[in-house]
Symmetry: C2
Subunit: 374 residues, 2 copies
């Protein structure tokens, strides 16, 4: 991983601000080469795919992960499937990735399913909802608990095939310049917090503000916002928030283990030979475990840096505040599921799994963190 | 997954009791077929590998995972790498898998690194040590924290290449017929608990007993042992322990997230074309996340069954007991690291990562389980 300076890093995170014209191009051009008659021979047909992403080019962990994915696919296919990775804004603006792949302007996309909540409200359950499952539980629900079947059903309606493509783990709860001692402290607070987390803040009397990554630092510096969430110590350290915010709050109640995703154009995917389909599926699973590991390893190092070198003051949301935010979250989810039958169906599966996994975690992971890990 | 009756399940878990003669056979026979002159064409050379495992054939999750791994590899390679999976005892006895692959009698093996602690004491840090890291942390250390490089260095001395091949998650703490209220209750206790966990029990005055999976039920029934650990609700339910033991203890302090592994004959692996090497590495990572998800999903369901249908009495080890077991563990690990310099080197890396990951978890995963998950 190449180190990035704060300046270059911020330049890179102008999510949503760089917008190139949306160009429809013919993609996936197949250079047919040679086919053997042996039953064991693999067809030599070559595929060139375009990946559009919602991340700035080479963005640490997330964008790097897309590059790695493309490398693994190329390596495993002996060069028969090459994927060119475009950063957000390079081919289409980040939040047009979904439509670009649906329409066939690109072949595969990388994002997080909650970005598409405006089109498909149920999508957010496959990424992250406030007070939702963590990485281990969400993976288990999607891989072994019926989640992937529902996700395929949902994305199928959009001519897409979804795959898990990483997880951030539990995120941090944000940077503040005042203490949060009661829910009243959120009243009138202008905070950069997107998605459903923002809706929950609104119910608590706060004002969610939408700012692209590259605008957060100056927004906080100039008082356009009072607080911001981002990801975790590794990315937050690069953003330099410790220079302009006093308190770093835990935990990230709004993002408890956000799943990243790949979505592929359904027809293009189905036209691939079986071996290349399996290569894509398997590379995505490898990325899933690589990304969570990379987040865990980098965040442990950068948390120590933030505390020891930058003397950051770590705070915890009081339990009372979390309890009330959880209630607002339940209301927000109920708003979604009562308006959209497919969201209701997905949430029922999600919630059933979460409850059982919660019971199990009390005997295992929770007991581990409380009584085994020092 | 085919349902197994208790009888057939137990028949299958006679780990270490089935021993076929150790047959040296020529393996990895290469059927050279056809090679194209095109630079993009993949060589059509076909490889047939033998996998020896430490699990009974088709053993739930663990053995099934090996079958899946072989399927994925075959699919991705278009049939150019076929792996025949042998259950423990089918080709060599389970605990001879390591030597069988070293010598080239088999090409790849599946096990858990602590099985080889007698040969290579440092190996246990790549599987599980009592009061060690959990799955998320251990994956992060091995994948992104320097662990895999040390593991390769260690196994390289045995002509092997290691890969992560799954994780059980935090296990359960075992089945007892009396309550464990203080460390004195472990005195004189005959418990089926292998490896370093057994050594720790010994320091507490108990007697670790080695019994193969198929012998545990009758051993407990007839009083040959007073208590046993096994895996978690899914496997334990199939073993029927709830019929003959009163209390089911949490947490599995002796196995806090056991990593499974593949080990490949180094020369055979290095002779493979790069695309097949990448296919093996990637399939193993897919298995890693599949297995943890499968354990999580199945254990959540079977815990509910044990509690609701079998009325199992769940108990927690008192904190005082865990504190003392942790001290005995530290002594046991110190015995290992002071006798073996490579173990010392590995443990220093492991322990440094664990401490930093522990600090990070207090703001994230621990806070999640205590304040987010209901």
């Amino acid at each position: 991983m190449k180190p990035l300076s704060r300046k270059n890093f911020i330049k890179g995170v102008a999510l949503g601000t760089i917008s190139l014209p949306f160009v429809i191009r013919s993609c996936g051009a197949d250079n047919f080469a040679q086919q053997s008659s042996s039953p064991n021979v693999i067809t030599n047909k070559k595929y060139q795919w375009k990946m559009v992403t919602t991340w700035p080019p080479n963005f640490p962990v997330l964008g790097e992960g897309c590059n790695l994915f493309a490398e693994w696919v190329k390596e495993m296919s002996g060069g028969r499937l090459e994927i060119k990775v475009y950063g957000g804004g390079e081919l289409v603006p980040p939040l047009q990735a979904f439509d670009a792949v649906r329409s066939g302007a690109a072949d595969i996309g990388s994002g997080a399913a909650y970005y598409w909540a405006g089109k498909a409200p149920a999508s957010q359950f496959f990424a992250s909802v406030p007070f939702g499952m963590n990485a281990q539980q969400l993976n288990a629900w999607i891989i072994s608990g019926g989640g992937i079947e529902l996700w395929k059903e949902l994305y199928g309606q959009y001519n897409l095939v979804p795959m898990l493509g990483g997880n951030t783990g539990v995120q941090m709860g944000g940077w503040f310049n005042k203490e949060i001692n009661s829910i009243a402290d959120l009243k009138g607070l202008k905070m950069r917090i997107p998605g459903l987390g923002g809706k929950v803040l609104e119910k608590a009397g706060g004002s969610p503000v939408l700012l692209a990554g590259g605008e957060i630092y100056t927004g906080l510096e100039r008082g356009i916002i009072d607080a911001t969430e981002w990801i975790g110590p590794y990315h937050d350290h690069k953003m330099g928030f410790y220079q302009i915010a006093k308190y770093y709050y835990s935990p990230g109640w709004h993002e408890t283990g956000t799943a990243l995703e790949f979505f592929m154009n359904k027809e293009r995917y189905e036209k691939l030979p079986k071996d290349l389909q399996a290569i894509l599926q398997t590379a995505a699973m490898r990325l899933n475990i690589w990304m969570l590991s990379e987040f865990e390893a980098k965040n442990t190092i950068y948390l120590a840096k933030l505390i020891n070198e930058e003397k950051v003051d770590i705070r915890f949301y009081p339990e009372e505040v979390l309890t009330q935010l959880r209630e607002f979250t339940e209301q927000s989810i109920s708003d979604i599921t009562s308006a959209d039958p497919f969201s209701k169906k997905v949430y029922e599966s999600y919630d059933k799994f979460r409850k059982q996994a919660g019971d199990w975690s009390k005997l295992t992971e929770k007991a581990f963190y409380n009584n085994i890990q020092i």
